[in-house]
């Protein structure tokens, strides 16, 4: 039997929701019948509006989808103006002030405290400037992600930006694909660094080459069924299909139609395509795609570039996260700026837009690490741009703990979350920066903090994974985290192993400190953190529930004169026992 949500969608969904939304906006919040709140809130998601958590009645989060994270000249200013005028809460956030923008892990933008009465004005302003909230949430094509510097990257194999644009045009507002069984997340990337994060998307186009009719053809291999939510993480699976850039829309249409027709509409917990791939296997997926949805012979997969991937790849040689100054193929430069936990005040957003206009083309791009990139800066203007005071806050050369921090929305606004997230990760990052020395040569260290199992902060692909939990201290419930280690993407992606469960929030920084002390003391030269964990960690769990818990005894006592890093024999679990442990009477770090 179709789920309740499917029933609501059958009545009204897709483009037509807008008409109702505007009617409610005109009449005011009270016009939404109380006994229809749930149905309308579900439908509003299609237009990017998500009702905030209980206690914040009548306020919405608004998500603006920016394909591939590209904000064309002038668009960031509009976003900043909208945030300043419409996204103000009743009280200031202690870290971020009264109005702010969140840059998300899917290269979108989120604003909070939006009133339904303001929606038509906001839509008018957005749409007059080429922006939209269409299908930013809900059961449909979500924002298309990819390499944030597509078209401006020296590492590019194929320029995927025109393809992302084409898919955005084709599938946003397309009636045939507007009502899917569940969300549909697509990544298309042509660079050889792997920063499109295709492995964690429902449908991924990743760069590849194939000889077709005697000619080397550049295009994409296709993967399907990735995703992180619900303690059921999956990497997207290779379905043995190569497609040219020209055929990407056909394959996209075929795959999304297959999901539309065969996805589970009875059980929303089982609806994502990752579960269909589990059930059918990749051969049946390919066969069905070919026979029922594609009108040409699908080529088999080409040769991929995965061995070159550097992005979040657990290597120390390159980090590929686009922070810093990088030359574009046209001789200009792009400058990636670190935005701690992806939240930027409205005033700073407007200032950034002005700087992008002054020094670059006005274009700004958003990354999947919640950061921003100013593109097209001429070499002669670089020094002046880098001297701007705003870049002291949003640095192109941040401390690794700042650079590596990601956090989701959390209990501040989100119903699903179990713990506070963004402000907490700000406190964690600052404490770690001030108190924990990273081993030499470590520029990348990813700490991803997610408030629940929905995994919006992508915790499973971080060096340190934090997932919101509860525990008790002195009998009282307190916020806590499950801690995972050693996750990441790259040629050989790996989900974090969940090592310590239900660590009270105020003890997490100390735990991280202990882990890093062990890494510094015991790792071999050039051994990355991920390699270190993989070599000595617990048996890699196939499922997150297969956790091998650490023994908890004795606090790691790091010697005053830390030992030099040395090459080591296989230490097996000794290291885990000796170093990655937490005392039962753990000391407080005062940064919960």
């Amino acid at each position: 039997m179709p789920s309740k949500v499917e029933g609501w969608k059958d009545e009204v969904y897709g483009e037509e929701v807008r008409e109702h939304l505007f009617e409610f906006a005109e009449k005011g919040w009270e016009a939404i019948p109380e006994d229809e709140h749930d149905a309308w809130f579900e439908r509003f998601k299609w237009w990017g509006l998500y009702h905030q958590r209980n206690g914040q009645e009548s306020y919405f989060m608004m998500r603006i989808g920016t394909p591939n994270g590209v904000l064309e000249p002038g668009q960031l200013k509009i976003v900043g103006e909208i945030a300043d005028e419409y996204a103000r809460g009743p009280v200031d956030n202690p870290e971020f002030g009264g109005a702010y923008c969140d840059w998300t892990t899917r290269q979108s933008i989120q604003l909070h405290w939006i009133r339904i009465e303001d929606v038509p004005d906001i839509f008018e302003k957005l749409e007059a400037n080429g922006l939209s909230t269409i299908q930013a949430c809900g059961d449909s094509w979500r924002n298309i992600v990819g390499c944030p510097v597509a078209g401006k990257d020296k590492h590019e194999h194929v320029d995927a930006w025109p393809i992302a644009e084409e898919l955005h045009e084709e599938f946003k507002g397309n009636e045939a694909y507007e009502n899917m069984p569940r969300k549909w997340k697509v990544s298309v990337t042509g660079c050889d660094e792997g920063c499109g994060q295709g492995d964690i998307n429902d449908l991924a186009f990743e760069p590849a080459e194939k000889e077709i009719d005697g000619e080397e053809t550049m295009g994409f291999n296709v993967r399907v069924g990735g995703g992180l939510s619900r303690k059921e993480p999956r990497f997207a699976r290779d379905i043995d299909v190569f497609c040219t850039p020209e055929d990407a829309p056909k394959v996209s249409a075929g795959m999304s139609a297959l999901f539309r027709d065969h996805g589970d509409r009875d059980d929303r917990f089982n609806a994502r395509i990752k579960f269909l791939v589990d059930e059918w296997g990749t051969e049946k997926i390919r066969e069905t795609l070919q026979e029922e949805y594609i009108d040409y012979e699908l080529p088999t997969a080409g040769e991929d570039l995965r061995e070159d991937y550097t992005y979040n790849a657990g290597r120390q040689d390159e980090h590929g996260d686009h922070i810093g100054v990088h030359e574009q193929p046209d001789g200009n430069y792009y400058v990636g700026l670190d935005v701690l936990v992806g939240r930027m005040g409205a005033e700073d957003t407007l200032e950034l837009a002005a700087l992008a206009d002054e020094y670059g083309s006005g274009e700004v791009r958003l990354t999947q690490r919640q950061n921003v990139i100013v593109t097209d800066v001429p070499e002669d203007d670089l020094d002046a741009f880098l001297d701007e005071p705003l870049l002291e806050e949003y640095s192109p050369d941040p401390h690794p703990f700042m650079r590596g921090s990601i956090a989701c929305t959390g209990t501040e606004f989100c119903s699903l979350s179990i713990v506070e997230t963004k402000n907490r990760q700000v406190r964690y990052a600052r404490w770690l920066k001030d108190n924990v020395a990273l081993p030499d040569g470590i520029e990348d260290f990813h700490v991803h903090l997610s408030g629940c199992t929905a995994s919006c902060a992508q915790p499973q692909i971080a060096d340190i994974s934090l997932r919101g939990m509860k525990t008790r201290k002195d009998g009282e419930p307190v916020e806590a985290f499950d801690i995972g280690l050693g996750g990441g993407l790259g040629e050989d992606p790996h989900f974090a192993d969940w090592i310590a469960m239900r660590v009270a929030a105020d003890e997490v920084p100390g735990y991280i400190q202990n882990v890093l002390a062990a890494y510094e003391a015991e790792s071999a030269d050039e051994e990355s953190f991920r390699e270190f964990i993989a070599a000595r960690g617990p048996v890699h769990a196939q499922h997150e529930d297969d956790v091998v818990p650490l023994r908890r005894r004795g606090r790691y006592g790091r010697p005053a004169d830390a030992r030099p890093r040395r090459r080591h024999p296989d230490l097996g679990r000794r290291l885990i026992r000796e170093h990655l442990r937490v005392r039962s009477d753990r000391r407080r770090y005062g940064v919960g």
């Binding site: 309740k4 006994d35 749930d38 149905a39 917990f269 119903s415 699903l416 179990i418 939990m469 008790r472």
Partner: protein, 109 residues
């Protein structure tokens, strides 16, 4: 009078008569439960997987984890509140609850 009960936002809420009433994130003390070996599970509600009505009780099966032993599971049916005179009254999660297998079957007694 019929009572409309369903889960929302990927199981984050139980809605009763179109009002969000019970949220994830609470710790529930569960006795005689079958999610873990603990005599008394200290169970973190992470998601509501099924909801139902056994008048006047509103019931749910909750996915979550016992924070005492770490075992994950889904509870049997558990009363999360009652509707009395059209008004929902939530139970207190911090008191002790006994989940049960559903006894009221579809057929008449």
């Amino acid at each position: 009078m019929p009572i409309d009960v369903h889960q929302l936002d990927d199981g984050a809420w139980i809605s009763v008569d179109d009002t969000r009433e019970v949220n994830v994130g609470d710790l529930w003390w569960l006795a005689r439960q079958d999610c873990c070996p603990c005599e008394m599970a200290d169970f973190l509600a992470e998601g509501f997987v099924e909801v139902g009505v056994d008048p006047p009780a509103i019931e749910a099966r909750i996915a979550g984890q016992c924070i005492a032993c770490g075992a994950s599971g889904v509870t049997s049916w558990l009363a999360v509140g009652r509707v009395i005179d059209g008004e929902f009254h939530a139970v207190a999660p911090e008191s002790v609850h006994v989940p049960r297998r559903r006894t009221r079957l579809a057929g008449p007694e």
